[in-house]
């Protein structure tokens, strides 16, 4: 796959997931849906870091740092939502 096509695929996935976030929110307000919305956010962050920022070719420590940023935040936000429930 050419570099440009790969970037378009990343963008299409990001756009689709962004729309999915809103559709998930409109379908209800359960804990499961909230977790799904957070998971979508983590996947989007991963697409940006590995796709657009090219962390897939970066030294592992840097890649882990960037990918874990969104993952850790999503876990903490998720735990906070569970605490509320």
């Amino acid at each position: 796959m050419s570099a440009s096509r790969f970037l378009f695929v990343c963008w299409a996935a990001l756009a689709t997931l962004s729309v999915s976030t809103v559709l998930l929110a409109q379908s209800g307000a359960t804990g499961v849906l909230s977790v799904a919305i957070l998971l979508v956010a983590v996947v989007k962050a991963w697409l940006i870091t590995d796709g657009f920022m090219e962390m897939r070719h970066a030294p592992r420590l840097w890649r882990r740092l960037l990918v874990s940023w969104a993952l850790v935040l999503a876990v903490v936000v998720g735990v906070m939502l569970v605490v509320v429930d």
């Binding site: 570099a3 440009s4 970037l7 378009f8 990343c10 963008w11 990001l14 756009a15 962004s18 729309v19 976030t21 809103v22 929110a25 409109q26 307000a29 909230s34 919305i37 957070l38 979508v40 956010a41 989007k44 962050a45 940006i48 870091t49 796709g51 657009f52 920022m53 090219e54 070719h57 970066a58 030294p59 592992r60 840097w62 740092l65 960037l66 940023w69 969104a70 850790v72 935040l73 999503a74 903490v76 936000v77 906070m80 939502l81 605490v83 509320v84």
Partner: protein, 195 residues
């Protein structure tokens, strides 16, 4: 730039842009992480207030802003691909396209801010809106700086100052924009959708 060799490896792992930009990005992400955690903790303390206040925001506008930022990110990445092929003027064209799409975000955000202020939903309205203004306002400033950087890169590309062998500064500028996108994809569900 920094590289390390894969154990079995053929291609060495490589960090695009300047190492200094990566430390700057880490610092920025740390600051936003603290703000996001403050938002999440406050939401846990005042869930009712946050749920009711969030209803006053337009999720469709938030989605449109997301698509605007992500599309600008795609165009900036395509500009980088052109510079790597030593076609800086093509890169400049993609950067101008990125700036145009990013300006849609700016228009939407300013319209949203004006609407909220006209409705009396300023920073002092309640805790949700205090944090909303701090988080999104701080991010908005980063978008403006990112647009300035993309414009600066476009001008340097137009003058043919970047090519395949001289692109580290260009990559650093584009990385800054991707960081702005990265922060937004976490902010968007947190502020506009969840709860």
């Amino acid at each position: 730039m920094s590289t390390s060799v894969e154990p079995g490896g053929v291609a060495p792992r490589h960090l695009p842009g300047d190492l200094a930009m990566w430390f700057f990005i880490l610092a920025e992400l740390s600051v936003f992480a603290i703000l996001i955690l403050v938002f999440a903790v406050t939401q846990a303390l005042k869930p009712q207030l946050f749920s009711e206040s969030r209803l006053l925001l337009n999720t469709s506008t938030g989605l449109a802003m997301t698509l605007s930022l992500l599309t600008a990110g795609l165009f900036a990445a395509l500009a980088q691909a052109q510079v790597r092929r030593s076609r800086p003027r093509h890169g400049a064209a993609w950067l101008l396209a990125a700036l145009f799409v990013a300006s849609v975000y700016v228009v939407l955000k300013v319209t949203e801010y004006r609407h909220l202020l006209a409705s009396g939903l300023g920073m002092e309205h309640n805790t949700f809106f205090t944090l909303y203004w701090i988080l999104t306002g701080f991010h908005f400033l980063h978008v403006l700086l990112g647009m300035f950087i993309l414009g600066w890169l476009a001008e340097r590309c137009r003058r043919g100052l970047y090519d395949a062998s001289n692109r580290s500064g260009f990559e650093s500028g584009v990385l800054y924009w991707h960081m702005v996108d990265l922060i937004w994809v976490v902010l968007f569900p947190l502020v506009y959708v969840l709860g």
